[in-house]
């Protein structure tokens, strides 16, 4: 699906984000690269602590600069962000790039009205008057489907329902028509109906404005709904990349396979048992050697010798498709056959 | 910090008058005499004799080098509770009112610091007739109230009649008890006079129910100072008394400050007692001992003209102050007339040997150390304080030789009495040092073969509890200061069998016929010198019966600013003599 002829709007190259903590260095992101073009949606999948949120905060420059060591490159529309000044970043944030956070209740200020919060973003970046900002806020609320927006604009977040809050959040993120929208699990806390509405809203808006979207989730079902491309993260690294179809129907990494097996299929038989991935996500303070997934990998013994625990598997991409695993293609075909049997119909 | 002044003063009866002065206390300029902390061995009891008619004439003897003018300030912890003389019993209130109140008699301090009883408002210290049952005083001419009106005989009579009013509850009650018909008289406000007060010309005659040879001393108490009939506001008089002294109240903020300004109607020629050098006194209240001590030590600004009526050197600073000549020269040190002692309940501890054993075993020195050492107290071996006339020095139970107690001797006595293991219940007041003292006493007495039970009693009810005839204590902390300077004022209220009873002050419940007889006899002796000898013997007699364990006499240390002149002790009010001070130029 990825069109190589288009200039990437966002380009991340070998990004490393390391935090220093009292216990040592946390390698939250450890060599991540990807490109994103306008009008496209990249889904980033992974468990908590896989580095997906950190990546996005780093793009916005919201990491704690004093405690974070960053290497690599982040280019937004050709502009290097890591070396940008705080002032430059402030001009970009909420304007050219904006973010929707997971928990709208916690992420909206409880002390200010919805209208103020939406409006102040607009004022900050356009320098318009208060009344114009208010008008814009009402318009945005209407666009995200809040009924009676001219009344609700003066409400506080706690007076909104969960779904409305998330819509307001989206309205706030989109108020300046951003070119890059990062949505960090925007639907996780919502019930399925509202979730679907929000997704539709995002898709509509993307169609309208050609926004590039990074959609972070641990829910592959959501990915199936919205993403064009998928990037699977594990332990601060990308373990698999590909189009939505490629990754979901033909996973190339045991972790992706594990994720798929742990979620119910919308299409498959109801009686197929769900198998969660054994073990827990790796400590980024002291990550496993070699392949970071190897302690939890069901197929680590299939690889000759102890390569899995000693040698880092490289992400080999062909046409933005590939995975980081020591298993050979033949082994994958054989070992992942079960999955194909249950899912491929 | 001690907030217990009031309880302490009322309960122990630290009151108006004292007896004699130490040679050391005369003047702040005689530095040599205060280089050492006074001790009993050096103190010399001097009589306060009755002065002549000439002694009673004004003006007061000039203080050498004194200058007129300026303001004297004070820093004290509390304001006075009372300013109605009829309600005044405590010594600080008596002292602070010297500049504005005058009684029939008062104490005159001469240029050598000697004290004499003289006529203040009266022309002399009174004429006794009928063996002491009748006393006459003649009012001086020219004594005026602050409004310019002359003090009248009506005022004089009214002063004594109003003592019987129901609102008078805190002042001394001697005169009320002794005046004929006083038991039925209810005060002048219903229009009735007391017949035993006889007015004739400028002479007032008191008719008493019993012979009181020292009645003129009694009248020197502040409680018997004059009150103008016309300006008697009854209960409210306590807030704003009317002056006939050299000063009058200029301003008063209760609890905060009190200012005296000159009473221009006062005539120095009528007053043998008050010099009245400063133009103004400003008393300031609300200062902890440590706050006033620090300010005296710093000696800055107006604090140079400042002294204290009540605040002594703070215990935290006493060592620093007394060991540094720079500070010490601004301290007035004085042994107090109060004796702190431990009456033994005679009703419960009947065996004299047991009581003597307690005396032998007593840890005087340990208790002194707990109190803070020699700077603030002297060990006592007698009931009378060394500064009370009649004091005779003796030491029946070896305190001088063994100030820490002699457990062996005590144990031997106890064994002789067949009372080894005798149980003693001791009552203490709650205080900072009570627990430590209790332990020291328990240890000392148990070493001598007693079995000791300590009981702490709340301060405010302590004297009510030990004052009950039927109480459960064998030994209790108490103290007494005479109301006027002689033995009667100590022995009659506390050691006569007539004063056993609930609320009375014979706490030991001593009812010994020979002691009673000796007290009655001594009270009738008109010659003060003879009387003093007799009181000294009563002291010894009671100590032989071991009805009490004398513990200590307190030493008071007042500090003042460098520009306060002639800081001398007023033996009559056991305080700094306000009317002798002057502000140095």
């Amino acid at each position: 699906m990825t069109s190589t002829d288009q200039q990437p709007f966002l380009s991340i190259k070998d990004l490393k984000v390391h935090f220093s903590t009292e216990d040592g260095i946390v390698k939250a992101v450890d060599g991540l690269s990807f490109d994103l073009v306008k009008g496209q949606t990249l889904g980033i999948v992974g468990e908590s602590g896989s580095g997906k949120s950190v990546t996005n905060l780093t793009i916005l420059g919201l990491h704690d600069r004093d405690r974070t060591a960053i290497e690599g490159e982040i280019l937004l529309d050709g502009k290097e962000l890591l070396s940008a000044s705080e002032k430059e970043l402030e001009r970009l944030r909420g304007n050219k790039m904006s973010m929707i956070f997971q928990d709208a209740l916690a992420s909206l200020s409880p002390y200010h009205t919805i209208g103020t919060q939406i409006g102040e973003t607009y004022r900050k970046h356009t320098g318009c008057s208060k009344s114009e900002a208010r008008k814009r806020a009402i318009e945005m609320l209407r666009r995200v489907g809040i009924p009676q927006p001219d009344m609700r604009v003066d409400d506080y977040p706690h007076q909104f329902s969960g779904g409305m809050r998330q819509r307001a959040m989206i309205a706030m993120a989109l108020v300046c028509d951003p070119e890059l929208l990062i949505a960090d699990e925007p639907t996780t806390a919502l019930d399925v109906t509202v979730q679907a509405q929000i997704m539709d809203l995002l898709k509509d808006l993307q169609q309208e404005f050609g926004t590039a979207i990074i959609f972070i989730t641990h829910d592959l079902g959501v990915i199936a709904d919205i993403a064009d491309d998928v990037l699977v993260m594990y332990g601060g690294r990308c373990v698999e990349r590909g189009t939505k179809k490629e990754v979901l129907s033909d996973p190339q990494h045991p972790y992706t396979l594990g994720l798929l097996n742990s979620m119910p299929s919308l299409h498959g038989a109801v009686d197929v048992p769900l198998t969660p991935i054994p073990g827990s996500p790796p400590s980024l303070l002291n990550p496993p050697s070699g392949c970071r997934f190897h302690p939890r990998c069901a197929f680590a013994d299939k690889v000759v010798g102890d390569r899995c625990s000693t040698e880092r598997p490289l992400l080999e991409l062909v046409e933005d498709r590939g995975s980081a695993c020591h298993l050979t293609d033949a082994q994958k075909q054989e070992l992942f056959a079960d999955f194909a049997a249950t899912r491929h119909n | 910090m001690s907030f217990s002044r009031r309880n302490f003063l009322i309960a122990t009866g630290v009151a108006a008058a004292s007896t004699s002065v130490l040679s050391a206390c005369s003047s702040s300029d005689s530095k040599g005499s205060r280089d050492n902390v006074p001790s009993v061995s050096k103190s010399e009891a001097v009589n306060i004799p009755v002065g002549t008619k000439a002694d009673s004439a004004g003006p007061a003897p000039e203080v050498k080098g004194a200058v007129k003018g300026g303001t004297i300030y004070s820093l004290d912890q509390f304001d006075m509770d009372h300013m109605d003389p009829a309600q005044i019993y405590v010594s600080t209130e008596g002292a602070i009112t010297v500049p504005i109140m005058r009684g029939l008699t008062g104490y005159k301090i001469d240029d050598k610091g000697n004290c004499t009883l003289v006529g203040d408002a009266a022309t002399d210290a009174g004429t006794m007739k009928n063996g002491g049952k009748t006393w006459s005083f003649t009012l001086k001419d020219g004594i005026k109230w602050e409004d310019g009106a002359e003090v009248s005989m009506d005022d004089l009579r009214h002063t004594f009649e109003r003592l019987f009013a129901s609102f008078v509850t805190e002042g001394p009650r001697y005169v009320q008890q002794w005046l004929v018909g006083g038991d039925k008289y209810k005060g002048p406000y219903s229009g009735k006079h007391l017949d035993s007060l006889e007015i004739s010309g400028k002479t007032i005659t008191f008719h008493l129910t019993e012979a009181r040879t020292d009645f003129n001393y009694t009248l020197a108490m502040r409680g018997y100072s004059l009150v103008p009939k016309k300006h008697d506001t009854k209960e409210k008089y306590d807030k704003r008394p009317f002056s006939c002294g050299p000063y009058k109240i200029g301003d008063r903020k209760i609890g905060k400050s009190l200012t005296y300004v000159r009473n221009e109607h006062w005539d120095a020629a009528t007053d043998p007692i008050r010099n009245a050098y400063p133009d103004k006194y400003v008393f300031q209240f609300g200062f902890e001992l440590i706050a006033s001590t620090d300010r005296y030590m710093a000696d800055k600004g107006n604090d140079q003209y400042t002294m204290s009526i009540f605040n002594e050197v703070a215990p935290e600073r006493i060592a620093q102050v007394l060991t540094n000549a720079k500070y010490k020269e601004r301290v007035l040190t004085q042994v107090d007339t109060v004796t702190y002692y431990w009456p033994i309940n005679m009703t419960r501890v009947k065996d004299v040997k047991v009581r003597q054993a307690i005396n032998w075993a007593w840890p005087h020195q340990q208790l002194q150390t707990i109190r803070g050492g020699k700077a603030t107290s002297e060990l006592a071996t007698t009931i009378l304080s060394p500064v009370t006339p009649g004091y005779e020095k003796f030491d029946l139970y070896g305190v001088d030789k063994k100030p820490g107690g002699d457990p062996a001797k005590a144990k031997a006595l106890l064994k002789e009495a067949g009372k080894l293991g005798q149980k003693l219940v001791i009552a203490y007041q709650h205080s900072d040092n009570a627990v430590k003292s209790a332990v020291a006493i328990k240890n000392a007495l148990e070493a001598a073969g007693f079995q000791v039970v300590n009981k702490q009693v709340d301060k405010s009810t302590f004297y009510t509890q030990i004052g009950k005839v039927d109480n459960d204590f064998d030994l209790f902390a108490a103290g007494w200061s005479p109301d006027w300077p002689n033995g009667y004022s100590v022995f009659y209220p506390c050691w006569s069998g007539k004063n056993i009873g609930d609320g009375r002050s014979n706490y030991a419940q001593l009812n010994d016929p020979s002691v009673n007889k000796a007290i009655d006899a001594a009270a009738k002796i008109a010659d003060p010198e003879e009387a003093n000898k007799a009181w000294g013997k009563v002291d010894r007699q009671i100590m032989e019966l071991a009805a009490v364990v004398p513990d200590y006499h307190s030493i008071r240390n007042w500090m003042h600013g460098s520009k306060v002149g002639n800081v001398v002790f007023d033996a009559g009010n056991t305080c700094i003599a306000l009317c002798k001070l002057y502000a140095k130029k």
Partner: protein, 326 residues
């Protein structure tokens, strides 16, 4: 808001009523006899009875309480001692003044002391806390944190005397602490209270530094603060309008309690600096077993705390729209 105030004020009255009743009862429960304190050295049972009558404590306790309560609304006569007009909180026999008058006389000092110290400790405490929170882990934070640790372990007794010794006695920079009404001379008022303010504030500053630092640190890690930054708002804007707003609630709460307590009298500070405020009044009243005064001061303290609690709740509601006053 109106309903809230009415409801809370009624509640406050009930609380004060209970407090007064409990104080009344406690006063008589302790083994202390106020009559003994006003009865002379030769106190006979008859005299004691007379004193009880004069003090008005010869009635049963509930009756006395009723008289006292009634006095607040209709005033009271104390015979020859004088009248005490409504609202009469009783008559202090120790001071020979109506209680309310004495309290009102002492209150200006205590209010000056409380508010003056509050200004100092708010500025320094919250200021240091803000800096510490902004410079987390840096030297500014370490200095502020150590200073607050040191400050919180100091005693007014200690600091007060040390400060007096150096600033007043040794160097003579400041005068002896004293109180001059601000209406008489603002300059004297200020210079006389400066030292007590500073010393009293030292003790409180530490608390506010720690409190505002921890609150701000917590708020700065809140999601909505991050959101505000993600919107492109500047650091200072986010700090003041978002994080600080959130941190204010708890600070306002303890500030209300502290202020209420201070208005009840800063006993130690007033003692150390020899200031005649409500605190000293309370102390003296207790020592003199002056029940009417004890009651009056207790009610003032309790009233101040209760009132400030209501104020705090109202302010809290202004700060945080999630809180509804009802």
């Amino acid at each position: 808001m109106f309903r809230f105030l009415v409801r809370r004020l009624l509640g406050a009255l009930v609380i004060l009523l209970i407090i007064s009743a409990v104080t009344f009862w406690l006063f008589y429960a302790i083994p202390r006899d106020p009559a003994m304190m006003s009865c002379g050295k030769n106190c006979t049972p008859d005299m004691l009875k007379q004193v009880r009558h004069n003090l008005g404590i010869d009635h049963p306790i509930p009756v006395q309480y009723w008289y006292w309560l009634k006095g607040i609304f209709v005033g009271r006569s104390y015979g020859d001692f004088g009248d005490c007009s409504a609202p009469c909180l009783g008559y202090s026999f120790a001071n020979r003044e109506p209680v309310l008058g004495t309290i009102l006389d002492r209150l200006p000092l205590t209010l000056s002391l409380a508010f003056g110290a509050a200004v100092v400790f708010l500025i320094f405490g919250v200021g240091a806390g803000m800096i510490a929170a902004l410079k987390q882990g840096k030297w500014q934070d370490k200095v502020a944190s150590s200073a607050s640790l040191l400050g919180s372990s100091l005693q007014i007794y200690f600091v007060g005397y040390i400060a007096m010794y150096f600033l007043v006695f040794k160097m003579g920079i400041l005068d002896n602490p004293s109180y001059t009404p601000i209406t008489e001379s603002p300059a004297d008022w200020f210079s006389g209270l400066l030292l007590p303010w500073l010393v009293l504030a030292i003790i409180f500053t530490a608390n506010y530094t720690r409190m505002s630092r921890s609150q701000l640190v917590e708020q700065l890690s809140e999601d909505y603060v991050r959101t505000a930054r993600a919107k492109g708002l500047s650091r200072s804007n986010v700090f003041l309008r978002f994080a600080w707003r959130g941190a204010m609630g708890p600070i306002v709460t303890i500030f209300g309690v502290d202020l209420g307590t201070l208005i009840g009298g800063a006993i130690i500070t007033e003692s150390v600096f020899s200031l005649q405020g409500v605190g000293r009044l309370a102390l003296d009243a207790v020592n003199k077993s002056d029940l009417p005064m004890v009651l009056g001061v207790t009610l003032l303290s309790a009233g101040a705390i209760v009132v400030f609690n209501i104020v705090v709740d109202a302010v809290y509601a202004l700060i945080d729209p999630r809180i509804r006053l009802a």
